[in-house]
Amino acid sequence: MNTEFLIAIVTGTVVAATPLIYAALGELVAERAGVLNLGVEGMMLVGALAAFAVGTGTGSLILGYAAAIGAGVLLALLFATLTLSLQTNQVATGLALTLFGLGLSAFAGRKFAGLPIEGLKPVSIPVLSKLPVVGPLLFHFDPAVYGSILVYVIVDRVLKRTRAGLQLRAVGESPAVAHALGQPVMLTRYLAVLFGGAMSGIAGAYLSTALTPMWVEGMSAGRGWIALALVVFATWKPLRVVLGAYLFGGVTILQLHAQALGLSAPSEILSMLPYAATIIVLVIICRDPKTILLNQPASLGKSFHPDL
């Protein structure tokens, strides 16, 4: 296996994993606060469109990403208002969000289909990318990839070491107790959901500006759902989210390089791999009910209102 092929595999894996990392870490924060947001797919698509539209419109990818974050946050705000303040069913509202995001992005994106965009360019880290073998492999990615690792570090540190993270975990376990102690349960959950929205927005932006720089209706192709599954697979731990995302990235790459790797199968069957893999990892994790009982935030999906 020559170096170029290896680089291609690794690069492909990382690039495929990056949107999953953003979206799954965002959802992890929301779920650790006890909120199940099934609207990740919808938020990703709207984010993808926003980044593409603003990016092509203004020529600035940074503005594009900012727009994507804004779009994700807005949709998340809609979701949060309905489920947290108005107490609607979280599953139904999340589904509504996805369907709405699908429709909205398809509708608003009609004139962007087929337009070209100058995607994210890889950036070489000065000294490190000159290292033999490792250099071009690990230190020559686009900024969003490094950003995803940074987000992981921040999320991990905040959850484990800061008071805000402590509060979030407490709210996720028992909002009633947290409320009795005077914690701002609603605010914590709102912020967690909005963070999730922002991350989904970035994930979507990455799709339309880096992974496949273009806009196509429904281009996330289920990645939002896979991100949701990732959170479960990772038993709500940030490091495992990252590792799981790379695992999925690898599976996705398999289908692209199948021939080179000696796998001959029809392309549609290979395309099934990520989805089948998702099912399999979910079964592996969920088999033992204790795994879920020990790790799932106890209040996940349950409505809570401080006035009751």
Binding site: L82, T88, N89, L99, G103, L300
Partner: protein, 345 residues
């Protein structure tokens, strides 16, 4: 009072539609007319309304069984696809041998295909505690890829110019129409039959009672000895079978063959139909007609005003959002929000 929020939600959707059309620079009133009234101004139009409402209602009636018990089958679109594949397969390869029995067997194959596909999330949930939401959803993508695979390969019409579609089915296995001059067929009658059965099930049967208890108070269901396993299986087999029936009726109905694109998202729209219809058979039928009108309207403004077909999806999403919001002000809330993973009793 339960009908108030769907009505309010529909009204809000209309108002928003008015604003959207205006924003797009089209005359809002005539756009609304083109969207909601024009599709119905002929026998053919009414037939189209019924034709599209049928698969929506079939799926939604099946889904409603599970939703009342917090069993979330999100993969109706995939089960619909499998129903089309199984029924279509029988139509392609055995319609000759089966003679008069061909159509019934095709329909049964469709139901069985959908039910079998739905059995996967059912077994994974009951035996491995896996979230049925995520599994059924993943299976949608797999089902669609399976259809594409078959149509690009073994089932492709050799005289079809390499389009991913099968040979057209024999006339003998096409569903009979309800009347000439329009396209609605006897699948509409299947849907009415299912609606009646569904009414008996949820209002009168003990099995329906068990599901409602499971949805409202899972601990009480466990206490009473109601098996959540049985509920999950029942919900998935019924909704899978209904979706499979919807799928096969599409391909031996208006489509007449197997092709890559057999459903404009009926399986997902059916989720909205189930909620807007309040999980009640009559409500679901009415909501299906409304949803069907949204599809027709979308096509109508696509042709008439050069708006994208996606406008339908937009309205659908809006409708569901408004419904959820409207529920609050009427004071009726879906009672329980389930955790992502449930441990079966």
């Amino acid at each position: 009072m339960r009908i108030a929020s769907p009505l309010i939600a529909s009204a809000a959707m209309l108002v928003t539609g008015f604003l959207i059309f205006a924003f797009l620079g089209k005359d809002p009133l005539s756009a609304l007319y083109m969207f909601f009234i024009q599709p119905l101004d002929s026998l053919y139009g009414v037939g189209e309304l019924v034709l599209k409402a049928t698969p929506l209602a079939l799926c939604a009636l099946g889904l409603a069984v599970g939703f009342s018990a917090n069993i979330w089958n999100i993969g109706a679109e995939g089960q619909l696809t499998l129903g089309a594949i199984c029924g279509g397969g029988v139509a392609l390869f055995w319609s000759g041998e089966l003679g008069r029995l061909a159509l019934p067997v095709i329909l049964l194959a469709g139901v069985a295909g959908g039910a079998a596909w739905a059995a996967i999330p059912a077994v994974l949930r009951t035996r491995f505690n896996t979230s049925e939401i995520l599994v059924s959803l993943m299976l949608v993508y797999i089902a669609q890829l399976l259809l594409a695979y078959l149509l690009h390969g073994a089932w492709r019409d050799p005289e079809g110019f390499n389009f991913p579609q099968s040979k057209a089915f024999d006339d003998a296995v096409i569903l009979p129409l309800l009347m000439d001059g329009q396209r609605a067929n006897i699948s509409f009658l299947f849907m009415l039959a299912l609606a009646s059965l569904s009414w008996i099930f949820s209002r009168r049967s003990f099995a329906g009672y068990r599901m409602i208890v499971a949805g409202q108070a899972p601990d009480a269901a466990a206490y009473a000895g109601f098996s959540q396993r049985r509920n999950v299986w029942l919900a998935f087999l019924v909704s899978g079978g209904a979706a499979g029936l919807a799928g096969v009726c599409e391909v031996v109905g208006p489509i007449g063959r197997l092709q890559a694109d057999i459903s404009p998202g009926y399986g997902f729209a059916a989720i909205i139909v189930a909620f807007v219809g309040r999980l009640h058979p009559i409500g679901i039928v009415l909501a299906a007609l409304l949803m069907s009108l949204l599809y027709l309207g979308g096509e109508s403004v696509q042709l008439g005003l050069q708006l994208p077909a996606a406008v339908t999806g937009l309205f659908q999403g809006l409708l569901l959002f408004y419904l959820l919001a409207a529920d609050l002000f009427i004071g009726f809330r879906l009672r329980r929000t389930p955790a992502a993973i449930k441990v079966p009793a």
